[in-house]
Each structure stands twice: as structure tokens, then as C-alpha cells.
Symmetry: C2
Subunit: 255 residues, 2 copies
């Protein structure tokens, strides 16, 4: 149906990916400040550290969870890219969001609700694993942590509203330009990239499914953007050659 998804043992339920011992203490975690726990002080970190069950690794294009699953674990993305998506009965796919290091995977799980979307990796990925129940209890007892989660949740909602505006009211070119800029901004905010060059593991099909387009049309637009020298994409690396121009294209509301 879709690409990849090789019968790698990355699907929980078959061969669950093994839970590894640990990654190092949370206190020295380089991306902690980026996470929902970033607001926590000294003792909060210790309590979070105690909740952590360990970590897991997944290979690129592995399915982390499927729509309808009721997961008992919540992850914090430690390294790699992940995306949330919905699959329609006929195989169409809508990508809802891309998650980058520091993002929480499975916030809705706090309510033990069946997932209303699926989750898949784009790259090789490492996640920190928390027990959903334990984390929920912790949140109920720690207003600061709850605040962190709430703010994350609000930020997600804001991004979601922006994306909806893209899909409903912007041209294909503007959507693509905005996606590039958004991903670049997020990577910069995380200190993962500094300049105008960034890793870019998305296939054109992924871009299409995120922006409500077809891969062919994405290709046309990307071709144009490359040809006019606004950006270049080679071997999974994207370089924004003319940031201001790209911003102007992204701004462009008409067509």
C-alpha cells in the first residue's frame, strides 16, 4: 500500500523493539530544554528521570503505532524525524504533522483514548519511553509539568490552525515554501542546524501528502524553485539559497 513498511520488527505487537537500558541521566540530556519537561527545575528532573522506562530505536519508515491503537507508553522524540498521519480506506494519506527532536509523541494517550492517527518514522529514530499511566499521575501532581504539556499542546494547535489555513487558502507553491521555512525554523530553534542547510528526509510523496497535493505536482513546483535558484535539494539535504525570496513566495497568497 504505502512505501517502506518492510516487515521489519518495528511494529509493536509483533516483534516489539527492545527497551534499552538507558541513554544517560536526564539531567545531562542535551535536548531536555526543548521538551515539555524543559520548564522543570532540579527535583522535577529527578522525578521525570524516575518515570523514564528507557529508550527504543526504530529504523527509517517504521510504523510506531496505528490508528485505533491504545498505547500505554508516551515517547519523547530524542533523535530523528517522525510524522503523524491518517489513512483513508482507499489508501490516500494525509500527513498531519512532522515531529522533530524534543517533541512528544502521543500526548492524547494521557486519556487512554484510541489513537485517531498513525505514527511512522521518517529517519532512524531514538525515543525516550515513559509509562503513560505513571506520567499522567505525575502530571496531576506537578502543575509545572502540566503547564509544560499544556503549552506544547497549545503550540501544536496553533501550528495545526496554520496548516489548515495553508491547505484551504494557499497555492501549492506557497504551501511548499512555507513547509520548508517552517521545518527550517524548527530545526534552528532546536539548534540542530545553524545556517541555511538542513537535513531533509521527506520524499516528494511525503510533502504531497502533508500539503494536500500530488507527488507529480510537488515535483513540478520543486523543480521550478530549484531552477530559479531559491533552494536546492540533494541527497536528503536541503539548502535555502535565497531566504527572502522564499519568504516572499511563502507569503504570496494569490498564485
Amino acid at each position: 500500500m504505502l512505501q517502506g513498511e518492510t516487515a521489519s520488527a518495528n511494529v509493536p505487537g509483533n516483534g516489539v523493539n527492545p527497551l534499552r537500558a538507558d541513554l544517560g541521566p536526564c539531567g545531562t540530556c542535551p535536548i531536555r530544554a526543548l521538551t515539555a519537561y524543559g520548564v522543570l527545575g532540579g527535583t522535577g528532573i529527578e522525578r521525570i528521570a524516575r518515570l523514564r522506562k528507557g529508550f527504543r530505536t526504530y529504523r527509517a519508515r517504521a510504523v510506531l503505532a496505528r490508528e485505533g491503537d491504545v498505547l500505554t507508553e508516551i515517547y519523547t522524540l530524542y533523535e530523528g524525524w517522525v510524522f503523524r498521519f491518517k489513512l483513508l480506506p482507499d489508501g490516500r494519506r494525509q500527513i498531519l504533522s512532522f515531529l522533530l527532536p524534543g517533541d512528544t509523541i502521543g500526548f492524547p494517550l494521557v486519556y487512554a483514548t484510541p489513537l485517531h492517527f498513525s505514527i511512522q518514522t521518517l529517519t532512524d529514530v531514538t525515543v525516550c519511553v515513559f509509562d503513560a499511566r505513571a506520567l499522567t499521575d505525575f502530571l496531576a501532581s506537578c502543575p509545572a509539568a502540566l503547564l509544560g504539556f499544556g503549552e506544547r499542546s497549545l503550540r501544536d494547535a496553533m501550528a495545526q490552525d496554520d496548516l489548515m489555513t495553508d491547505l484551504g487558502r494557499r497555492s501549492a507553491t506557497a504551501r511548499i515554501a512555507r513547509l520548508m521555512l517552517d521545518l527550517h525554523r524548527r530545526l534552528r530553534a532546536r539548534g540542530i542546524v545553524a545556517g541555511l542547510t538542513m537535513p531533509f528526509p521527506l520524499r516528494q510523496r511525503d510533502i504531497a501528502d502533508a500539503l494536500g497535493l500530488t507527488p507529480i505536482h510537488v515535483n513540478r513546483v520543486m523543480g521550478t524553485l530549484s531552477k530559479v535558484g531559491v533552494l536546492s535539494l540533494d541527497a536528503g539535504t536541503l539548502t535555502i539559497l535565497e531566504p527572502e525570496r522564499l519568504e516572499r513566495i511563502a507569503m504570496n497568497l494569490g498564485h
Copy 2:
């Protein structure tokens, strides 16, 4: 720029709509079960009742708040329809969601963040008014109420994800059919309508702006749906004549 928005004194900041004394005790509120406070028991209701500052009324098409506003009040919609939307610099509009009685307006305000969308009424509206700060404090002290808000928030996110899938991957006809069915379902769940007839205050332009279409195209599709006898729309009243058929049209993924 947009329709309506007559210089009625419905814009906070100019002539703020007067805060009215009260609507009756929360304990007897007929829509309380529908709200985020629905989960609360006896003493919880009393505490909520004490937080309520009163109520306000707005006329149809009045602007409740604008993008960028930092509001100090949170509303629960008591009666009428409201919608959230974003305005693009050139006047384009994307409606993000429709709110019905029982829905909370301004959940993000818990974080005293500037609103990233605007809010406008569709019909004459009555809202219950809460002080944002007081409500936030209350939530921090009452896990049950917080759970209620979190569940609401999760439900919103789920609806948002569905809508994004609509915009990205479904045809105009399917989107329109799904919007009708969704609104009908929500009104039924609230006991506001029983049969297949419902009030429908949306203009075709509103439908268009919610679904990423043009009013003209909405008209074409609505015309077809009426002509084939699936539904009828007269004087602000929508009747679903053939529910199964409408569902089938909504399901229709193809074109």
C-alpha cells in the same frame, strides 16, 4: 472587508457588551452536561458557579475577538453559533471551526497567549463569562475539571485532524457532505435537534471559507445535492432528506 461587522457595539474595546447579572444557577443549567464542567459533581458546580462573572449577549455576525487580542475572559457558549477563523492579509479567510452550545471559547487563553485566530458570531449568541485567571487557578486545584478541559481539548484536536484530512484529500462534494453530517451529529448530541431538520445559519461563503472552496463552487455543489434530493436548505433550515445517501457521498474518496 468582510460582510456584516456593522459598527454594532459588539467589539470589545469600543462599546463592550454589558455584563448581565446572571442566567440562573449553574446547578440547573440545561447545557452543563455538555460543557467541560459536565464531569463535575455537586461541590464542583458550586465552585464553578462562583467563578462565573455573568453572561453577555452578542448579535449575529458580531466580532467577539480579533487575532492578537489577549483576552482576560473565557466563555462558555450558552446559546447560538460561533466560529473561529484566520484572516490573510489580502482578505482571504479560513474558518477553523464552528462552535456550538456547550463549547468553550478561548481555551488557549489559559496561557494568556495572544489569540492566533479571530472569533465571530454566526447567530445571536449568549455566553457565560469566566475570568481567565480565576478559572486557571481553579483548574490547577481541581484535577476533575482539568480532565474535562483536557478531554475537550483532545476532542478538538481530533476534529481538527479530521478537517485537515478533508481539506487535503477529499473532493468538494465530500467535504460539504461531511460538514453537514458533522454539524447535524453535534447538534443531535446536544439535544438541540432530534430529527433530520436543523437550523443552519451558515452562508455559502462561510461553508466555502471553512472547506477551502469558493462560494460559487459551494453553490454548484449545494445545487446538485438539492436537485438530486439528498438535502434541502430553506430560510436557514437544513433538512437531510436521504441520510444514507449523504453518508455515501461523504464517504466518497474519489473525486
